[in-house]
Symmetry: C2
């Protein structure tokens, strides 16, 4: 390969899906989907400070040492431009399944047309600006008051960013204004609220990653949860990705917010959602319940450093809908006014939902984390992975991990005595136990043993063991199975779950 | 409804399938698929002489009495013209599954655009011309010599008809020339060969239907089989529809003709074919074997009067391939030269195959008809239909029909003593036993009890019983089940199959 040219096919985000802008929400043939082509599933953030904060005076590696910078040119095109190239391909007719939505028979190459690609992309160090707001906790116990509920969003955008991220940033500003107003009226939270509005999310999650690395020790000690809202709204249907222990809390919060279209609460219209990041990428499903689906956390937004690197329970929130103009110049305020959220009522609903979650966590006696759900979910992942190993005729014993997961699954749904401050602390910290200090093989920055991003927005479960199985390396799989079992045992021990 | 406008969507026969003419064989956006919109699944032929021959002096009904003439205007459009109408529809976006291959989001109506449809179609009686050639049989037994092997084709076309039917007509002319040459050299067939090249096939199969009705009594007495070739060639892969008793004969004949591309015999490359008329329309499959699939006889070509009305064993032959220009002005000699059969080798192969079949039947001591296969096929249809009835909670007892079908299935594959002239006659005539004198309910012209056309090119099996089941009429279903069992019993008795 000499270079990579990507384009948006109308079969995926254009007229094959529905009406295109301005008539409808889907992308017109002139839309270009921008994006960062980097290997941030290895390590996100500033490519020259992998694993430590990019602050003045920090050590910086040479560009050639970076594992995540691309090695070839890459450019996105609109379908209108790309079809000129597609129609110039004169190899065989495309194989089955590769016909797109363009009004011609697709062919593969090579040629006969040749493309000359010349990109003018500045290569330089720039200043980025994270915006951090803080409402200090007022609990009389300073060890509680300093605990942090983190509200996370970013403010940088590809072109206008009407949805991504300005819908989320507008929501964050409105929520910040409301929390300030509450404080002026005398309602201060017991724990500390931090609103982080990051820069350079679109370049490898840089603002959040560097801030998280800079404040690693304090966050590891004090963080309660990360509530991330990237885009807040591209439609009217709630979608969430989250760590399993938060599910009952998320359901409860969603039942407290009215649906702006009068269809009950936002919980009631949530059920049929397609999910924010993960669903549809073929990720093995976990536990099946009658509750709305909550996707597993992938990557592609700012929870990554907090969840995958630091083990802080995280959730990503969105009102979802047809969003064919993603990362293009049509993702504008006008698109939102016409299609995404006419009247901006779901922006306001997200401010309510996000605020309800933040204040409940900030003021809770108990930590409303449910590790019985986490245990059942782990068992589903273990079953799935054993099926994969069996399909490859690879010996794999996940019995120890399953035993420990069963200890969690047998916990009462909300940890007994959770209202007791002494037992609330283990619940707040238990997700940290699922980190491996050395990370997963070959990408040490990713330390969470249950979830890791794939080279896309999707994620995989039990990445350490799974990647060994996929590689057919039974010795490594056995070592990783032991690491996983140890981690789940640490959680079960911390929560004083009975031995099997 | 005020009128019917049909068009060819590029998802079905245009660029979504592959390259369009002239680059490839599929239909360009300017192609218009013509066709006759009449109810010829009720009765084909001249609409004013339903069931009798349209000859000078024949009784003619009034147009208003015809059951098959359309009651509203109907016009086909090209996609290029139709998209103007489609893009003017402003109702909701199409439901799932209704997006076509056009480069816009499809909507349903009504309006707001209005269409004024004005058609200039002459309404008149015209002379049509069937071409009949005859090579008299020379068997010393005049009862054998007068027996007829019918070779059937038509010569009328929508516009140019490069494939449909001229590929078949050219093949018929070449075969006729060859048979004439054989005769001049002294090789005359024992039985009579008749080549019928019909007119007005595209208007309700008129030429063949009227000729079949005119010669009904002689054909009923003397016919051996109808070998129909409509289009002979749109590609390089053999496809057949046939009555089940002919299958072993068809396989044997196909093994006698070399594939022009050197891939063995035409039998060897037949296996993966998609079939001529039926497959893909959801018709219940019959017996599954390792042999190439032979489709059931639908309608839409000239075997209809001979098979469905007169009970003459029939086969329809085709070399199939991508044929996106069906019934359009692009179905031309030039299309054939470029795409359908460059070099015209499959035209020649069809002349060989058709001729091998005709001469083997004309000169056979035995009738190579296999009623054990027919019996197994009937059992498959009976099983399928009982499943349909069960799904509708309708009581249906097909036990008597199944018992009789089992008598057939137990016959030795080629009827014992078939080489004996006295036992050959029952085999030649057995298909006639599957006719009901009164036809199937509500369409008496269609007398075959095992197959009948649906309102399309597709067919259904056991139509009398099936239509009663679909209508939920258990009394009628029981009566039709008895009629069916009697018919199969007549076949089994004629072939002296042992009683169960």
């Amino acid at each position: 390969m000499a270079a990579l040219i990507t384009y948006s096919d109308p079969a995926e985000d254009g007229y094959v899906q529905g009406d295109v802008y301005p008539r409808g929400p889907w992308g017109p043939e002139t839309h270009v989907q921008r994006g960062a082509n980097v290997y941030d599933f290895i390590v996100p953030g500033d490519p020259l400070t992998p694993g430590w904060a990019s602050v003045p005076g920090a050590r910086r590696i040479a560009e050639g040492e970076s594992r995540i910078l691309p090695r070839m040119m890459s450019a996105p095109l609109s379908f209108k431009d790309a079809r000129v190239l597609l129609e110039a391909l004169d190899g065989p007719v495309r194989p089955a399944g590769w016909q797109g939505g363009g009004p011609f028979a697709y062919h593969v190459g090579p040629g006969p047309a040749r493309v000359r690609l010349k990109l003018d992309i500045p290569r330089e160090t720039r200043t980025i600006r994270d915006i951090i707001a803080r409402i200090p906790g007022t609990d009389p116990d300073p060890a509680v008051a300093r605990q942090v509920v983190l509200l996370s969003n970013h403010h940088d955008a590809w072109t206008y960013g009407g949805v991504d991220p300005s819908s989320g940033t507008a929501t964050a500003l409105e929520l910040g204004r409301s929390l300030g107003e509450l404080r002026r009226r005398g309602f201060s939270p017991r724990r500390t609220l931090v609103i982080g509005v990051w820069d350079a999310e679109e370049f490898t999650l840089t603002g959040s990653t560097e801030w998280g690395e800079e404040h690693r020790d304090l966050l590891s000690r004090d963080a309660v949860a990360c509530l991330n809202v990237d885009a807040s709204t591209s439609g009217d249907r709630l979608a969430m990705s989250a760590t399993p222990s938060l599910r009952p809390f998320l359901y409860e919060a969603a039942r407290a917010v009215a649906d702006p279209k009068g269809r009950g609460t936002v919980y009631d219209v949530w059920g049929a959602g397609e999910g924010a990041n993960i669903r549809g990428y073929g990720v093995a499903a976990g536990e099946k319940t009658a509750e709305p689906g909550v996707d597993i956390l992938g990557s592609g937004s700012d929870y990554t450093v907090f969840f995958n690197h630091l083990g802080i329970p995280s959730v990503d929130l969105l009102f979802d809908g047809p969003y064919g103009v993603y990362h293009s110049a049509y993702d504008s305020h006008e698109w939102m006014r016409r299609h995404g959220d006419p009247g901006f009522a779901y922006h306001a609903a997200m401010a309510r939902l996000w605020g309800v979650m933040a204040l409940r966590l900030a003021n809770a006696d108990a930590m409303p984390f449910d590790f019985a759900t986490y245990g059942r979910e782990l068992i589903a992942y273990i079953d799935d992975l054993e099926g994969v190993a069996k399909g490859k005729n690879l010996a794999l014993d996940l019995g120890a991990a399953r035993s420990q997961a069963r200890r969690l699954a047998a916990l009462s749904p909300l940890f007994p005595g959770a209202a007791d401050r002494d037992t609330a602390e283990p619940l707040r910290l238990a997700e940290r136990d699922l980190l491996a200090p050395d990370g997963i093989p070959d990408r040490p920055w990713f330390r969470h043993l249950v979830y890791a991003p794939l080279p896309s927005y999707a994620a995989e479960t039990l990445p350490g063991v799974r990647e060994a199985v996929v590689a057919g390396d039974s010795a490594r799989a056995a070592r990783q199975a032991a690491v996983l079992a140890d981690a789940i045992r640490r959680v079960a021990d911390r929560l004083r779950a009975p031995e099997p």
